[in-house]
Symmetry: none
Subunit: 224 residues, 4 copies
DNA sequence: GATGAATGAGAATTCATTCAT
DNA sequence: GATGAATGAATTCTCATTCAT
């Protein structure tokens, strides 16, 4: 896997300097940030990930974010209309990265080669999840009533599932709807990552990757 | 099934009116509840499920719950010490039911019989999930920092996974840690139920059950 | 003049207990206030008049109102959605009273009788203005961009002018549009009341009434 | 007309660039302004009129003004100590022009000549009002507690009334205090201009002028 | 047993003003 | 001379919890 950009820090492109005329309520975000502004924006985005991660969306206070970013309330609202707006920015960011990940998946088969491709793809997902997991999970945060954001979450996982279904055609044999099967697998991957990351399950990262690879192979390419 | 603790339990049995001294902070709960009180308590519990379902724990307001239960704030605090207390009551309820579910699982194998047992167990889970899914999900609500409640969530799914691992000994072959593998499967089951229930995936319930059964069999009992 | 209700205090009817299903955002206002609630509501309305009077709409803080009503922030929002909502309630109240005033005007002519009727009508207006003047003025508060509220102000003064034009038919002689002339007079009455009330002009109330009567007679019934 | 104070004046004359030491708090204003500075100052003053007009003093944000003037916050404070300072500058400007207007009033009598003088004076007022009306009205902005600014408003209208009372001695007959009567008329003139300008009353400008002239003549010079 | 009303601490948001470049 | 960025005090608003009847 070859991430298109450095992952550890939020890439500026998708969030900050897109050409959009400045969505309503994100005052300073439409235009032309100088170096200082860029840095502040970055700090806020990073702080957002961090705080949403540790407290979840609802429990996160703007005050926490602002403190984590070592800036002031006023400044926060210079960049984002409100907490949700910041969250949306992060979501957009993750969505981009997940799309990229989906695009990176190569055709996989039951052979050693396919197994290797699959595992490294899962590793990429895990890496992404380490940074953005909380955001991804929060998407889904307990809302059956689908909000715009909530929907994105499913969409995005759906995208991954789509890529998977497409690249593993053989799963089609048997009575499983490949799309749904793929989604089940993606859901499993996401959850297991979560359990491992949060320490609720004790497993090393490579153990987890091996396991997931094995499970997916068994499901997608049953021996007969 | 035998509830492990004396607590008001929701469905399907009637609310328990034991004489327990009343845990601290749940004022009216220790008392003997007459018919009227019974009904009010039930209404509040049901309202809790409903509201936590649609808004999640943090976003749920006591006001919402009270409205849904067609009662007053004052009354709410007659039955529960606070919002979290209500949630805990529901959680305990679910935990009980899930324990029962775990206990119900029979030994399963790769044959037709095991497949049938597995499927009907999954059906039981789905049924339970239809009512309590939101509570289950809210456990997990976007927090890496593990809160007491959050932990319960994992515990309970862990219990299911434990039962599964135990009753499907054959999975032990190959390099998979059976406990982790079982957890991955349980996680998958939970998530897929969620996606289907929330309408984010379009699949009929029996389709879903077939698929999950198939996946689990493939994972637990790979042909060779 | 015979005011339909006691003026010095806000009449409960138009504001509080109308049959409207509870306009959005005025939580507790839709329904059935008990004695205590009634009193609190009344205190808030009175406080509103007082504070809007002394500081104007924009400069008035909810905090001021709440202090004047000797209650808490929380309580304020139990009765009104926000500051504007309270203001609107007062406006509706005044609008009612002004309509009543307009309806009370009797036919007036150039004779002693008409002069007396006119003067006592002006006295009624002054009395009303003493309580509600600030609200009336704030309506107009510097907004050329007509808001819903702003419009009401003109409407209401227009109503008075309409009544006046109608009851003083003779003004029609000469080139004056009676409606516009009447409005000019009403505007004058309002402003002079304001100047006198605010102490910017030193005149006794009866002097002012005499003067206004005289001016109106001269304008409406010029000797030939 | 002769400005009473050295202050940047808006229209119609060019901005004054006197060397006055600069009143406290208006940083850049004491300095000699070059062409660029001149233009910026003008833009800010114009923007002030515009924004105060549409939103009133309190609701006007420095941000609005700065945007309307197509400049930055920093620049604003280069020219004015604060929002009130800008307002005061505009007020001073209007005060000057109104003083001039007061001075321009010729002796008027009940004859055709006086009527013509009066009407053209009213026309001059209307013209002034078209530009500065909002400022004039904002003076009065809903406060009974007289602020420094609020007082100026009355002063200035009082000045007009004074001039009027002085130049129309005949009003003295009858029981009317000429000063108060004159103020009532001025108040009427101001308000009617407002209603017409804001479109709340539909009348052409010349109709309004005719009407006001007629009313004033009737009041000031009753036939007997 | 129930409820309407009140409370106040806590969180979000705004905006005049200052600062560094 | 100008400006983008930052600031924080002042406000509004929410909501869990308590109280009096």
């Amino acid at each position: 896997m070859a991430p298109r950009r450095a992952r550890p820090t939020v890439a500026p492109e998708p969030v900050a300097t897109d050409g959009t005329p400045g969505r309503p309520g994100a005052p300073a975000q439409g235009r032309e940030l100088r170096a200082r502004g860029q840095r502040t924006l970055r700090r806020l985005l990073d702080a957002g990930v961090e705080v949403f991660a540790s407290r979840g969306f609802h429990a996160a206070r703007v005050d926490d974010i602002v403190k984590a970013a070592a800036t002031s309330h006023g400044t926060f609202y210079l960049y984002f209309a409100n907490k949700e707006d910041l969250f949306a920015a992060l979501v957009a960011d993750v969505a981009d990265q997940i799309s990229a990940l989906a695009a990176e998946l190569e055709p996989i088969g039951p052979d050693e080669e396919g197994r290797r491709a699959l595992r490294s793809w899962l590793a990429a997902f895990t890496e992404l999840y380490e940074r953005y997991g909380p955001i991804i999970r929060t998407w889904t945060e307990a809302e059956v009533e689908p909000s715009a954001l909530g929907r994105m979450g499913a969409d995005v996982l759906g995208q991954l599932a789509g890529a998977l279904a497409e690249h593993a055609g053989q799963a089609r044999r048997n009575r499983m709807d490949p799309q749904v099967a793929a989604l089940a697998l993606v859901a499993m991957v996401e959850r297991l990552n979560y359990f491992v990351l949060s320490g609720q399950v004790h497993a090393r990262r490579d153990e987890m990757l091996d396991l997931l690879t094995e499970v997916m192979v068994r499901v997608l390419f049953p021996p007969r």
